[in-house]
Amino acid sequence: MNFEFSEEHEDLRRTVRQFLENESNETAVREMMAEENGFSREVWARLSEELGLAGLIIEEKHGGAGFGMVELAIVMEEMGRVLLCAPFLSSAVLATSAIELGADASIQADLLPQIASGEKTATLAFSEAGDPWNLGKIEMTAAANGDAFKLSGQKTFVLDGRSANIILVAAKVGSELTLLQVDEDAAGLTRESLPPLDPTRKLATLRFDHTPAKRIASVDVRGALEQSIQRTITALAAEQLGGAQRCLDMAVDYAKSRLQFGRPIGSYQAIKHQCADLLVEVELARSAAYAAAFSADDKGADIAAAMAKSFCSETYAKAAKRNIQIHGGMGFTWEHPAHLYLKRAKASEIIFGSPSLHREKVARSVGISAA
C-alpha cells in the first residue's frame, strides 16, 4: 500500500485550504446554513473557475481537471475541516460519477462540461423510503411512452435535491436499472426541502407525477451506480476525517487555554487522556480514509471503502461529541461551532449507510459472517 502524497498533492491541499479559510469561515458557514439552498452560487463559481473543483474528477476532455480519488480525498478532507456548505458531494462526486460511469457518451459530453464549469450543479436521486441506500430496493419504474419516459413516485434524502439544476433519477425500466434526467422545471416535479439534522448539507424529497424524463443510459446502470456510491463514500470518509481532525484541534486548543483551579484543563489527565484517545482514533481513521483513496482502483476497493466509511463515521462522531464535552458549557451553546460538527458527523454517519451496514459487508467478505 502506497501512502505517499506527492509535492503536487501538498500544493493542492495548501491551495484548497487557503481558499476555504477565506470563503468558508464560520460566518460564511452560518450564513449559508440558514439559506434554503444552503450554498452561495458566487463561491461555487469561484471554486469552479479558480480552483477547478467542480470538475475535479471529470476528465479533461469534458472540461474537468482529470484528477483521481487521492486528489478527491485531499479536497474532501479540507472541505470537511471547515464544513464547507456547497453541493460538492452531490454534484462533483456522486452525480458526476453516475454520469461518467453510467450515462451514454453523448450525454457525458453534454452534461459533464456544464458541471465542471460550475455553471450547473447536479444530483442523483436514488433513495426511496424504507431502504434508502440499497440500490436493489429501488421500485420507481419509468413508464415508456415511445422514446420518452414518465416518472411517478417519490425519491427522498436527495442531496441538494432542491437546488440541483441537473436532476438524475435512478429508476427501473422493466427489470433493468437505468438513469433518467429530469428538467428543473419539468411538469409534475415538486421539490421539497427536508429539515436536516445537519443544516450544512441540504436534503430534499422529490415527488414526480407523470413527470417527463429522458433516459440517459442505454445499459443497466446497477454496477455503475454501485461504483459511484463507492466513490462517494470513499470521498465522504475523507471529509469525515477532516472534520474529526478539526474537532480534535478545537478540543486541544481549548484545553490549552481554558484555566480552571488555576491551571489549563489540558494539564489534567482526565482531559489530556481524552485528547490522546481522540488522536489515536483520528490517526487510525486517517489510515482508513487514505487507504480507501489510494486503493480505489485496486481489487478489494469496495471493502476498503466500507471499512473507511464505518471507521471514519464513528471516529468523527466520537470526536465531535468529545469536543463538546471538553468545551464544557461553552460547547453546548449555539454560539460555539462545536454543535455544527456534531450535526455534520452524525448525518454523514447515516447517509449512504450506517457503520454497521458497512461492517456487515466487511464481515461477509472476510468470512466472519456467512457470505
Binding site: M1, N2, F3, E4, V252, A255, K256, R263, P264, G266, S267, Y268, Q269, I271, K272, H273, C275, A276, D277, L279, V280, E283, L284, A285, R286, S287, A288, Y290, A291, M307, S310, F311, S356, R359, E360, V362, A363, V366, G367, I368, S369
Partner: protein
C-alpha cells in the same frame, strides 16, 4: 559500499564459514560475521560494522537468509544485549575491551539484562532508590531491581542507580555495567499470572563495581538510560503483519472452527464485535505502513506514536474475544499454573498452525496480554506522552522537580 558490494561481502563470509555446517555453532558463525563487519553494519570498522547506513543491515540479513537455512534472529540470541546493550556500549563504552564486549554480545556468549525498574519506581523510573556509595576505586551498591528479563542467565547488567540523593532525581543517577557474577548479586524468579517467570527480581547487597565500569559521567546516568530506552522503543516498534495477520487471524480461525451453539442474535453480536476488531487491526496495520512512508519522506507525524497504546489495547480485546468464541472450553486451562520458567509455552507464540495450538495460545494470551498495557510504558504514561509531546498539552504540576530526591515523598 554499495548494496552489491555488501552482498558480495556476505557471500565471502559464507565461503569461510557457513551456518548450515554441522560443525559451526551460533557462536562460531556469528563471531566470524562480527569480524567481517556484518554484525552491526552501521558501526565503525573493527566494532562489528563497516560504517554503513543502518538499513544495510537488512541487506546483510536478506543475503544470509537467501543463502542459508540457518538464520539466527537477534531477538532469540540476545535481545537486550543486541537491542539496547550494544548501542549504549557503542556510544558510551570505554575503548578498552569494547570490541570484545560487542563481539560477545553479538555471539550470545554474554547475555545482557537491564536493571532499571525497582519496586518503588515503575513509571517514575528516575525516582529509583537503589544506592551506590563511592568506596576507593569502587562503588558499593545496595537495593532491589525488578522485572528484569534474562537476569538469571546474564553476564552483564545495565544498572542505573542513585549516586547522589541530595540533588533532584534526574541529576543524581549514574549508569554502570554490572558483572552479574559479582558477589552480592542475587537473582530470584518473579512468577507472573500465567505461573511462568519470564522476569526476575534482582537483589543487590553490598555489590562492588569498579568505577571504571561507569558509562557516561557521574550524575549523567539518566541521559545514558534515555539512549537505552529509545532503543527499546524502536526495538518494540515491530513490523506490520500482513493483512488479516497477527492475533486477529487466529480469532477468525477460532470462530470458523467454533462448535459452540449460539442463538442467531448471540452469533450476530459476536460477529459484530469481531468485525470491529478486524477493522481496527487493519487500520493499525495501515497506520504502521503510513508511519514508515512518512519516515521515509522525512516528515514523521503522530502516526508513529499511536501504535503502542492502540496495539496493546486491541490485542487484549482480541485475545479476550477468542476466549468468548471458545465458550465453555474457556473454563479449562490445560497449560496449568505450575510455577516455572517459560518453556514449552513460548513455542506457542510462534504458533503451530493447528486447532489445538490456537486454543491453548488464546487461553495463554488472555493472561499474558494483560501486561501489554503495562510493560514498556503503561497506557497511562503513553497517553501523557501523546497529550504532551504530540498534542502539546501542558504537563501536570510536578512536586518532585526542583527538590532533592531525598525530600520527595515516596511509598
Amino acid at each position: 559500499m554499495t548494496e552489491t558490494e555488501v552482498r558480495e561481502r556476505v557471500r565471502s563470509l559464507l565461503q569461510k564459514i557457513h551456518p548450515d555446517d554441522p560443525g559451526a555453532t551460533a557462536v562460531d558463525f556469528r563471531g566470524v560475521q562480527f569480524d567481517h563487519g556484518l554484525a552491526f553494519a552501521s558501526y565503525p570498522e573493527g566494532l562489528g560494522g563497516l560504517g554503513l547506513s543502518p538499513k544495510m543491515q537488512s541487506i546483510v540479513n536478506d543475503e544470509l537468509q537467501q543463502n542459508a537455512k540457518t538464520f539466527y534472529e537477534n531477538l532469540a540470541i540476545n535481545p537486550i544485549g543486541i537491542g539496547m546493550g550494544a548501542p549504549v556500549l557503542l556510544t558510551y563504552g570505554k575503548d578498552e575491551g569494547k570490541r570484545e564486549m560487542l563481539r560477545r554480545i553479538f555471539t550470545g556468549e554474554d547475555i545482557w539484562c537491564q536493571l532499571f525498574s525497582e519496586p518503588s519506581a515503575g513509571s517514575d523510573v528516575a525516582g529509583l532508590s537503589s544506592r551506590a556509595v563511592r568506596n576507593g576505586d569502587d562503588w558499593v551498591v545496595n537495593g532491589q531491581k525488578v522485572w528484569t528479563t534474562l537476569a538469571h542467565v546474564s553476564k552483564w547488567g545495565m544498572l542505573v542507580t542513585r549516586t547522589d540523593p541530595d540533588v533532584p532525581k534526574h541529576d543524581g543517577l549514574s549508569y554502570f555495567l554490572l558483572d552479574m557474577e559479582s558477589p552480592g548479586v542475587e537473582c530470584r524468579p518473579l512468577y507472573q499470572i500465567t505461573g511462568e517467570a519470564e522476569f526476575n527480581e534482582v537483589f543487590l547487597n553490598d555489590v562492588r563495581i569498579p568505577h571504571s565500569r561507569m558509562l557516561g559521567e557521574e550524575g549523567q546516568g539518566w541521559r545514558v538510560a534515555i539512549t537505552t530506552l529509545m532503543n527499546e522503543r524502536s526495538a518494540l516498534g515491530g513490523g506490520a503483519s500482513r493483512k488479516g495477520g497477527g492475533p486477529v487471524s487466529l480469532l477468525l480461525k477460532l470462530l470458523q472452527e467454533s462448535k459452540v451453539s449460539r442463538s442467531k442474535v448471540e452469533q450476530a453480536l459476536l460477529e459484530d464485535r469481531i468485525t470491529r476488531l478486524y477493522i481496527r487491526a487493519e487500520m493499525l496495520r495501515l497506520t504502521t505502513l503510513r508511519a514508515r512512508a512518512t519516515q521515509r519522506s522525512g516528515n514523521p507525524g503522530p502516526e508513529g506514536s499511536v501504535g503502542k497504546v492502540a496495539q496493546s489495547e486491541l490485542y487484549q480485546q482480541v485475545w479476550e474475544t477468542c476466549i468468548d468464541v471458545l465458550g465453555e472450553d474457556g473454563l479449562i486451562y490445560e497449560l496449568g499454573y505450575e510455577l516455572r520458567r517459560p518453556g514449552d509455552i513460548t513455542s506457542l507464540r510462534s504458533g503451530n498452525d493447528d486447532d489445538e495450538t490456537r486454543r491453548l495460545q488464546a487461553k495463554y494470551q488472555l493472561l499474558r496480554s494483560q501486561a501489554n498495557t503495562i510493560e514498556g510504558g503503561t497506557s497511562e504514561i503513553m497517553r501523557n506522552i501523546l497529550g504532551e509531546r504530540v498534542l502539546g498539552l501542558p504537563g501536570e504540576p510536578r512536586v518532585d522537580k526542583n527538590i532533592a530526591w531525598k525530600d520527595v515523598p515516596r511509598g
